[in-house]
């Protein structure tokens, strides 16, 4: 496991801007990693000094080779270690003795192979700590910095990418080479390109923090296979987004339903690890992507063009069909087709042929040449009622593709609004596309990709302007210690589930709206309890073995007298014993009937990476069939809780759409924040289900009808 909390001073300049590099373990064998890394450093026109370190060679590539790093008399900023894993610790130890500041450990054969590899990786960490060395890797492709001040390619990629404004971080080395090839074909450049491998020392959090302050980086892309410290990742990302406005786009691979299928609670089954990642990323503004193409489609929009300030789109096309397709995609993304100002309409009417469509989407007609594109594109870009422009081209015999591409580059360069393009086709449009790409005009093979990229940029712009969420006071709740003591005792007793009778007093400590109830061990007790509580009452079977009480006829409602209470007790035990003979029955819970209302579900789940997460959904069919839930990483404040409630698909049922009575949303929000606080203050809670919370129509009219806590 990495140690994200280790306070170590990182000298990232020695990694990205080294003045001297030792390639430790280099050799002369072309086609091997130790050789190709050295060659890449030399080929990239590295501006510092390179020292090959090789036990056997006297020279490599015309450079004097040193047997040991300690034989080099000059100071070394960065060691790139390419020895086999069994001796990497020796190389790192020597680097430490030599005073090397940082290292990139390329070698594989560590944590990823398990067993001895894990011990070897721990050993590297110990050595690095002893000498204060920071290192990237092991098991990585290396590091690239395209900044002309250094021109560093300490990787075994095939080619060094061109300079650009995208910072790329990847846990997978092999993916890096594919990304570099993809990006080269599209003339996409990078500021920094880092494969961080096993992140044994320097983690994605460290690298994100570095890119936050890197003036060469405008957009950050990250590929993650494993999130070690989700909360630190979110905090870092939120700071980057809100303080620097740099977008972060992430691919998190390894979707899994782990833990969801066998969960003992509703929340557990509804909140899989992937849903948590999705929600957590959205919560702080990280743009989650599902593949490389989507990631770069969105990245170039944000790296090359200004972020959109509104969602009113103008489309300029020389073909009707693609214009309509793009219009449909624009509307589907929730963007709007701009209504042009009178000036724009007048000028377009006077400048374009009679057959042209001067309304949005503007059709400049199939025979349009560069001059017509120039007029249409520049006019709509200047229209104050337009926030962004999509330009479409199909190649007809008279279409001067390259001239049009150049014209678009020129017009876009004079505007502060985003402009995206789609030159449709392959061979005929290739040169035109190349002109656009080289001039950093986002180009998309499919015109429908433009609205998707625009929407991502627009939503990001809105979110990046939002203030960092204030989670309220950080003082502990007055009864937190009491709650923890009760939970500790339950844990010590080997308990895994606290049913409603035990969960209720704990929830009450946090001000959650619980009912006064009691547990009956006999029919007579049930009747007495019911009378004491006041009719009508509800009676429910209590068993840690039964998750869905209704499925085993374990709930009787609206019991109106003592006689029925006696009957219900016997009936409950008989039916449940018949349907679940294996279940151990603790008793029957007697509680008051709650006035009718809408049923909602509230839950907590402790995620291994992100800690406690809070879930909200409408009860019944909406949660079971449609999984219509909202998830947030705790802490959740009142604003966030209210947002969660309004963001479920079926929110209208609570807010009073189509003649329904509006429900007490404020009370739900208060429950969510109380639950969030409880989850943070009581680490013993693995899962918590409040299912259902019955929500009434008046203030303070929500009641918890059932709850359980998993330890």
């Amino acid at each position: 496991m990495p140690h994200p909390n280790r306070a170590k001073k990182r000298d990232f300049d020695s990694i990205f801007y080294p003045q001297s590099i030792a390639v430790v373990g280099a050799n002369k064998v072309t086609g091997t990693v130790p050789h190709d890394i050295l060659v890449n450093i030399l080929k990239s026109d590295f501006q510092g000094i390179v020292y090959p370190v090789s036990p056997r060679e006297k020279s490599i590539g015309g450079l004097k080779a040193f047997k040991y790093v300690s034989d080099i008399s000059d100071p070394i900023d960065l060691a790139v270690i390419v020895f086999p894993s069994s001796v990497v610790h020796m190389a790192l130890e020597q680097c430490g003795q030599k005073g090397v500041k940082s290292a990139v450990i390329i070698s594989a054969g560590f944590k990823e192979v398990g067993g001895e590899g894990i011990m070897r990786e721990n050993q590297l960490r110990e050595i690095a700590d002893k000498y204060g060395i920071s290192f990237i890797g092991p098991n990585c492709l290396g590091v690239i910095n395209t900044d002309p001040r250094v021109k560093l390619d300490a990787s075994f990629a095939r080619k060094m990418p061109q300079e650009g404004t995208i910072g790329f971080l990847s846990q997978s080395g092999a993916l890096c080479t594919a990304v570099l090839d993809y990006a080269q074909a599209k003339h996409i450049g990078f500021s920094k390109f880092v494969s961080f491998g096993n992140k044994a020392d320097i983690t994605e959090i460290d690298l994100l923090n570095y890119l936050r302050d890197d003036p060469k980086t405008r957009v950050i892309l990250i590929y993650l296979e494993e999130i070690s410290d989700g909360r630190a990742l979110l905090q870092t990302a939120q700071e980057i987004i809100s303080k620097t406005g740099k977008p972060i786009l992430a691919i998190k691979s390894g979707r899994t339903a782990e833990g969801a299928s066998a969960a003992a609670s509703h929340t557990g089954s509804l909140v899989g690890s992937d849903e948590v990642i999705d929600a957590a990323f959205r919560q702080v503004g990280i743009i989650r992507c599902w593949d490389i193409e989507e990631m770069f489609n969105k990245a170039i929009a944000m790296a090359y063009q200004p972020l959109p300030h509104g969602n009113r789109i103008a489309i300029v096309t020389n073909a009707g069909g693609p214009g309509v397709l793009t219009t449909d995609a624009t509307i589907k993304e929730g963007l709007r087709l701009a209504a042009f100002s009178e000036t724009t309409t007048d000028i377009l009417g006077k400048s374009l042929p009679k057959t042209a469509n001067i309304k949005n989407p503007v059709d400049v007609i199939g025979d349009a040449r560069a001059d017509r594109y120039h007029i249409a594109v520049s006019q709509v870009l200047n229209d104050p009622q337009v926030d962004g422009v999509f330009v479409i081209l199909t190649p007809q015999s008279m279409t001067d593709i390259e001239a049009i591409a150049r014209e678009i580059c020129s017009v876009a360069g004079q505007s502060e609004k985003p402009l995206y393009t789609s030159f449709m086709g392959e061979n005929d449009v290739a040169q035109g596309i190349s002109i656009l790409q080289r001039n950093q005009i986002p180009h998309y093979i499919l015109p429908e990709s433009m609205p998707k990229a625009f929407n991502a940029a627009f939503r990001f712009h809105k979110q990046s302007k939002a203030k960092i969420v204030d989670h309220g006071d950080s003082c502990e709740s007055p009864h937190a210690a009491n709650a923890r003591a009760i939970l500790d005792e339950a844990v010590r007793a080997g308990r895994h589930i606290l049913l409603e009778d035990e969960a209720t007093p704990l929830l009450a400590l946090y001000g959650l709206p619980v009912l006064k109830n009691g547990v009956a061990s006999s029919a007579e007790e049930a009747a007495v309890l019911a009378k004491k509580i006041g009719f009508p009452v509800a009676m429910k079977i209590l068993s840690t073995d039964i998750v869905h009480k209704f499925d085993v006829k374990g709930v009787h409602l609206d019991i109106r007298d003592e006689e029925r209470a006696l009957q219900s007790y016997h009936a409950l035990l008989t039916e449940v014993s018949r349907l679940r003979p294996d279940a151990e029955i603790k008793g029957v819970l007697v509680s008051p009937m709650i006035p009718k209302g809408e049923e909602v579900i509230l839950g907590v789940k402790r995620d291994p990476a992100f800690g406690p997460v809070i879930m909200f959904g409408l009860g019944g069919i909406f949660v079971e069939l449609f999984r219509d839930v909202q998830i947030r990483v705790a802490p959740v404040n009142l604003d966030m809780a209210t947002e969660m409630i309004h963001q479920i698909q079926s929110a209208g049922i609570l807010t009073g759409s189509r003649g329904r009575i509006p429900r007490d949303i404020e009370s739900i929000a208060h429950c969510l924040t109380a639950m969030s606080r409880m989850a943070i203050e009581c680490p013993q809670i693995k899962e918590l289900d409040i299912n259902p919370l019955i929500v009434g129509i008046e203030k303070q009219s929500s009641h918890i009808a059932d709850a359980k806590i998993m330890l």
């Binding site: 050799n27 056997r56 069994s86 190389a91």
Partner: protein, 80 residues
């Protein structure tokens, strides 16, 4: 066989296989100090087997990192 004899013969084999003229010490690491690559490591195991007329379990033999480790490993087989 005396340990000193094994040491001398191991060093001779190492010098031949890795084509090294430098002084080989007991603590020399085949990879880190003498620059053996994976192929040469395999060749070393084969050469030790031939030199001493022994069978060495390959996976275990490849774990041996230094000259003195190799001497111990071979001595254990010979004296078994």
């Amino acid at each position: 066989m005396q340990r000193q004899e094994i040491v001398e013969r191991v060093k001779k084999v190492v010098a031949q296989v890795l084509k090294i003229n430098d002084q080989i010490s007991d603590n020399s690491n085949f990879i880190f100090d003498l620059g053996a690559d994976s192929m040469q490591s395999l060749l070393l195991v084969a050469a030790f087997q031939e030199e001493f007329g022994i069978d060495m379990e390959e996976d275990q033999a490849l774990q041996v990192q230094t000259v003195s480790d190799a001497v111990d490993f071979i001595a254990a087989i010979i004296n078994r």
